[in-house]
């Protein structure tokens, strides 16, 4: 469930309140551009994705319904914008997951470094679907419902993937 003040902001934006639009941007700007940087790996591209993401968000008004948190909504938007951008610029490089800890999320994206040390190797060894849940959970600090929304999967599936990943992580470390 989204925080009540976030729901309130969305409700005001749905009424055409310019201050609410601006506040939504200010609250989530740094998170969006930071996430974009993780996917694309450079500042200029991350800034492009920032603009495109908020343009796409604003276009949803009026009538935008917030089912979980705005971050849960924004995550797939940022991710898909990054994929499009990388495809467009033909800068996608196949990443050999056996040799790097970066891995990829959609077969296209890099993920800027996972935590250094033993965790990096363990995370890279997880199945892709578990790895993404772990990153959303620990790197982006999202709740179960937010992860479910971000990945468009049921909460039970998130629990299952997280549970399996945790068993590996805690057993190995």
């Amino acid at each position: 469930m989204a925080p009540s003040d976030e729901r309130e902001l969305v409700a005001r934006a749905n009424q055409g309140d310019a201050a609410a639009f601006e506040e939504l941007y200010r609250r989530h700007r740094d998170w969006v551009v930071g996430l974009a940087w993780r996917f694309v790996g450079n500042r200029d591209d991350a800034l492009d994705v920032l603009q495109e993401t908020f343009a796409a968000l604003f276009d949803r008004f009026p009538g935008f319904a917030l089912t979980s948190s705005l971050r849960g909504y924004l995550y797939p938007v940022v991710k898909h914008r990054c994929i499009s951008l990388l495809r467009k610029r033909r800068r996608v490089v196949a990443i050999d997951e056996a040799r790097t800890a970066r891995g990829d999320l959609a077969g296209e994206l890099a993920w800027q470094p996972d935590p250094p040390g033993e965790f990096a190797e363990i995370i890279s060894a997880l199945p892709a679907e578990q790895r993404e849940v772990v990153r959303l959970r620990f790197a982006l600090d999202l709740k179960l419902e937010e992860i479910a929304q971000a990945l468009a999967i049921p909460t039970g599936t998130v629990k299952s993937r997280l549970h399996n990943a945790l068993k590996v992580l805690l057993k190995v470390v």
Binding site: A18, W37, R38, L140, K143, H163, L169
Partner: protein, 185 residues
């Protein structure tokens, strides 16, 4: 709850998403408390705060301008939706009615300024085609112009009473105008 908590239970407890029963069990179970403490330590190690990327002021300005434009659009859309449904045709009809009124009055005004030869001429039988109270060359010119146009001919324009309205009637008026002018220079 007698069974120990799973890793998932502990993880949900860490973030405040767990069932209260799990919290009660962990509070009374030293083993689960240890596992929770270890999980919290590992979660800190896994946490990778997003890099702080500096956003240029012009980028902020562009996005905020977009936000304001969209807000204006949303407000306008809502205003349109708030209008009663039965009144909506009226909003379309008002400009049309205004345009029709303008066209009507302009046409009316042009009609008023048109030569009287285009109007039915009751007094035209006397040669006074424009009914200005006198017969002069202007009447002859007006009748000549009326003959060249497509407008229907008024029988009263038949000055020589030959059953036709033609150039002979124009000549007759012109002749009368000249005669009158000679008589009343």
């Amino acid at each position: 709850m007698t069974e120990h908590s799973t890793e998932l239970d502990l993880e949900l407890l860490r973030t405040g998403e767990a069932d209260p029963a799990i919290a009660r069990h962990v509070a009374g179970c030293a083993q689960c408390r240890d596992r929770l403490a270890r999980l919290e330590r590992d979660a800190r190690a896994l946490a990778m705060p997003l890099a702080a990327i500096e956003v240029p002021a012009e980028c902020d300005r562009a996005i905020l301008a977009l936000a304001r434009r969209r807000a204006g659009f949303v407000a306008e859309q809502l205003e349109r939706r708030r209008r009663p449904r039965w009144l909506r045709p009226l909003y379309a009809a008002v400009p049309l009615a205004a345009a029709a009124s303008i066209i009507f009055f302009v046409t009316l005004q042009r009609g008023a300024q048109a030569p009287q030869a285009t109007a039915p001429l009751a007094a035209a039988a006397t040669g006074d085609i424009n009914r200005d109270g006198r017969v002069d060359i202007v009447d002859a010119l007006l009748l000549a112009r009326a003959l060249k146009s497509d407008q229907p001919h008024d029988p009263a324009w038949d000055q020589n009473r030959d059953g036709r309205v033609d150039q002979a009637d124009v000549d007759r008026i012109a002749q009368a105008a000249v005669s009158l002018q000679r008589r009343h220079p």
